[in-house]
Symmetry: C2
Subunit: 321 residues, 2 copies
Amino acid sequence: MSSTSSVGEFDLIDILLQSIPSHLRQDGHLLVGAGDDAAALSSLVCPVITTDAQHESVHFYRHWLSPRDLGYKAVMVCLSDLAASYAFPRGLFINLGVPAGINHEYLCQLYRGVGSALEACGGQLGGGNISSSERLSIDLFAVGEGYAPMPQRGHAHVGQIVCATGVLGQARGALHGLLHGNEVAPELLQAFVAPRARFDAAAVLNRCGVRTVMDISDGLAGDCSKIARASGVSIQLAPEHFVVPAALQRYALENNREPREFIIGGGEDYELLFTCDEHQLGQICELLPDVMIVGHVVPEGDTPVIGGAVSSYIHGTGWTP
Amino acid sequence: MSSTSSVGEFDLIDILLQSIPSHLRQDGHLLVGAGDDAAALSSLVCPVITTDAQHESVHFYRHWLSPRDLGYKAVMVCLSDLAASYAFPRGLFINLGVPAGINHEYLCQLYRGVGSALEACGGQLGGGNISSSERLSIDLFAVGEGYAPMPQRGHAHVGQIVCATGVLGQARGALHGLLHGNEVAPELLQAFVAPRARFDAAAVLNRCGVRTVMDISDGLAGDCSKIARASGVSIQLAPEHFVVPAALQRYALENNREPREFIIGGGEDYELLFTCDEHQLGQICELLPDVMIVGHVVPEGDTPVIGGAVSSYIHGTGWTP
């Protein structure tokens, strides 16, 4: 964990670390924290590792989010993959690419957001790098402690129900508004700016024996496709079951769009997408009342995801401005 | 480990993974490899984690290295931090930022270099992300299995000898030549293009009870300063003991420079820097004949590193073209 940077940048790392409460960067699971060649964690029976990148102009624009929200969201997005793997966060590592126009105060605010997310989810900051860069980039790596066998995308089977742990499409509605200069309701903005990694829901799904889970980061249709492909099945979406949040309904109406388009094309929801048997669903819904049925696992067909009346939307995953 | 990218980019990840021999991306220490939300490793009694970034125009220029060499070097640089922590590589994760001008074949070559470095050092590729980017960026994250207590920078004490595991300054000589358009001897270029993480030397130092180790990535003087600061001591450099490689001697002579400048200012050597007691040194040198004395640990003074006749060079760490 070194950097071919000036001494000033090493001092900057010290300043940024001070923006994080001390219990989030030393002791606890961290035996050796930031400041050495590597960090050391306490032993991990089932180490689970994930990585995520948030790059300016690709994943976000700076004027969309405060630096604190940006740090918070970047960490939540990364830790969401641990939640989808039933793993608890232990160590987080950050590589920052910093362009000339960003000052220390901006970065300290960003690190305060990182601290808030760690406070909410658990896990400690183990270190990282800072490099100069053309655009602001945040590359995150998280190490968690999971269970064996880990839930995976490839365990869905025909006859199962496909569900999400909460309402979808609000982040996509906000993104649409930001990209088109439309007015965006606070509920939609909140979903886009401050997603939460669903460790609470993961604990319930694990207890109920759910074995096929992923987080919805690239949109419901795209992520259903990944489960379908990994499991050798097709998924028939069930738009008739979709819960359309009121703010999304209003936004779609005002902008002459179909709200289910935002739910299916989606992206950045960070709810958990899972498949379960009918007998599991009742137990899950008792503990997680917001669970929404989104489709059914059917035998493998020509297309991995069949959306019926909304089939024209199923290819619209991701975004590139 | 998701990405807000097009389906084409998910296929690209598959193509890149195919550039790595299968035993380096499945089975072994990897219980769940690339393709799910997260990867899972077999249990780690002493997990050691490090991260490194290689960004175009900051850490390298593309015309300096073949894509294969770039991938190889990026991995070696990251794993070098594990060697300096006496840890064996278990899982490696890569976040690529890819600009428009780079084609799939370039990236496949880069991944072949990644595979070569993993083959040489151990460890398996667990996954990563690909994002579009203004400049090529390679963010790496490595998880290793170490020993407790891990060697650290803060354990040096007065009276110890400071050593490096091999010759220094050749990579800096090559860099100087590349930046100034001078002819560069193959020995210097080799040191710059294909550094090796010193796991062999780490095993010897560990066996001999050496407790203060780091890798020399930012130059001898800068890295000595870090040990001095972390240990609350000063380090007096001993340029009279420096071994000056013949190619570096020639390059310096031809370009009217002092070779010790390259050794002290250095950078990207990736040899191990360590402190030991006199009785350990004989045993170490028997097993590692290339070990070079570079200085002595002295009581804390006004400056953390005292270079005597070469004091004017000690601030020149890192580089920014």
